[in-house]
Amino acid sequence: MRCGDFRVSYASDERIFETRLPPVALAALLALLALVPLVAGTYWLDVLNRIGIAIIGAIGLNILVGFTGQISIGHAAFLSVGAYSTAILEVKAGVPFWLAIPLAAGLTSGFGLLFGVPSLRLKGLYLAIATLAAHFITAYVIIHWERMTNGVLGFNVPPATVFGFPLDSDARIFYLIFALVVPAVFFAKNLFRTKVGRAFIAVRDRDVAAAVIGVSLYRYKLLAFVISSFYAGVAGGLMAHHSRIVFPDAFSLLVAIDYLAMIIIGGMGSILGSIYGAAFMTLLPEVLKLGATSLTGVYPNAFGLIASARDIVFGLAIIFFLMYEPQGLARIWMRFRSFWKLWPYAY
């Protein structure tokens, strides 16, 4: 059992994983995850896929809001730009998906850069309102640019194909999603142990002090928007391929709120927190649905009730976490871990 801190070099102190066990455990977990499609049913695969997509999107939002302190309610807009540009590139321009997703993410980055410009002047609530404007402008353009987007109806997206092998089932798209989740997590993790990530946090904690130290506020605020919307672009592209259809209602303001809830519940300024939050927010309605299904025998109206209960439970969860655990699930997990690390010798 590990009972102390035995690092003897600065290099070992800089590692992501403190001991040798976690990377092994993680590799084992990933290997297990790779086997999931062989055993899981479509229903749970679909849930897992949505968690995977939410993880990428939530990390993106956390980089901007949790780490850099630039509040954004425009995340659904960034997701929609990612989804629509992936879909349009593939359907209208015939670009293969492996090129369309990065291209769309790049486009979304540019879009993020544009709507990040107000952050150079605005802070806090004012910036939040400015990003809200970004949301409505995007939604308007999507609905009215019918030649490209087919308006409120949206359009179908053909399955991604790898060497003529269509990723048309939940099991197949699963590998595509998690092949992108893993690098997305590690890229973010690395970012925050190096220069760029530290600058982001500095901007969040004390922008004046950050500037005096030599961090260009312009550069890093915009960079946060660019990186964040790149993640959103990838997540959006995957959404298009996962649901195989893009339509405006999939990117309503509620989606942006859901993502904010993910990072609040999971943990602002924590990569792991984004993962927990994404899983929590995706699983919660499923759990509620399961509860409702088992209740229908006793109380036939349960399903209708649960539909409205979802929003109430989400609202309560957000309030609960803001009041009692502002650092979210990530913090709960850390406490849990440090308790068991020394168990039963802890005192």
């Binding site: 600065y10 970012l191 190096t194 220069k195 530290r198 500095a202 950050a210 500037a211 005096v212 130290i213």
Partner: protein, 258 residues
């Protein structure tokens, strides 16, 4: 030639003149103190020099270069570091990360290299860590708290971490805004010891705002006294103690009572 020269600096907010024509010259290697009653404009001078405020009129020349129009981070790149009167640390970060970010301007890796932790970025981070440990953490005796989150530390230590962060920039000019404010006698003594030590080891030019006259008289080579946005006197500490204007600003005038 002086390292830092302020030439007829004016700064006003609406109708209020915070600085009304201040000229100063700080020689390289000097330990320069700025004193004056509250609201005299001392911190405004620092804010102008580090670029947080743009002076309404006047010029700031650093190392022979006019920096009046430069942005704060560009001035940091030239080697101007400062601490703040009310500690302005990054509270959510550890002591080590606070010091590390002090060296921001010396790191060259781009976003991609950082995110991939590959090649130059990884090497740079490793050597960076060693530099920070050797030159700052050891020097300011922060070893035992390096992994503590700054917000949880006592006040005196936070002040020292802020000094560490400013030093990590490897500055030419160090601006200290009330480094010993709110400290007890022992903490003050420690802080002064650290300041003197690092100034000598790193051959810094220091400009310090300080209210503790004991500290000012003991360690500065030259003192400027400000009152109502104007410089009312400048000279050696001993001269300032005898200066009639200074005594008037601090203690008021004798008024004939009938």
């Amino acid at each position: 030639m002086s390292l830092l020269a302020l030439d007829d600096l004016h700064l006003s907010f609406g109708g209020v003149a915070a600085l009304a024509g201040v000229s100063l010259a700080v020689e390289a290697g000097a330990f320069f103190a700025v004193i004056g009653p509250n609201g005299a404009g001392k911190t405004s001078i620092f804010n102008c020099v580090s670029g947080i405020y743009a002076p309404t009129r006047g010029r700031i020349v650093f190392a022979g270069r006019d920096i009046t129009r430069l942005r704060p981070h560009q001035r940091a790149q030239l080697g101007i570091a400062r601490t703040f009167q009310n500690i302005a640390l990054f509270r959510g970060m550890t002591v080590l990360d606070n010091v590390k970010i002090g060296r921001h301007v010396h790191l060259k890796s781009g976003v991609l290299a950082c995110g991939l932790y590959y090649g130059r970025a990884a090497r740079e981070e490793r050597t960076h860590r060693e530099t920070v440990e050797r030159e700052i953490v050891d020097l300011l005796e922060l070893q035992d708290i390096r992994h503590k989150v700054v917000g949880t530390l006592p006040y005196g230590l936070q002040k020292r971490v802020e000094l560490a962060r400013a030093l990590a920039l490897d500055p030419v000019l160090l601006l200290l805004d009330e480094p010993t404010a709110g400290m007890n006698a022992e903490e003050t003594e420690d802080m002064v010891r650290f300041i003197l030590h690092v100034a000598r080891v790193k051959r810094l030019t220091v400009v310090m705002i300080e209210h503790d006259m004991g500290v000012v008289m003991d360690i500065s080579d030259r003192v400027a006294v400000l009152d109502f946005g104007r410089k009312i006197a400048e000279g050696t500490p001993a001269e300032m103690q005898r200066d009639a204007n200074v005594i008037k600003a601090y203690l008021g005038e004798d008024v004939e009572v009938a």
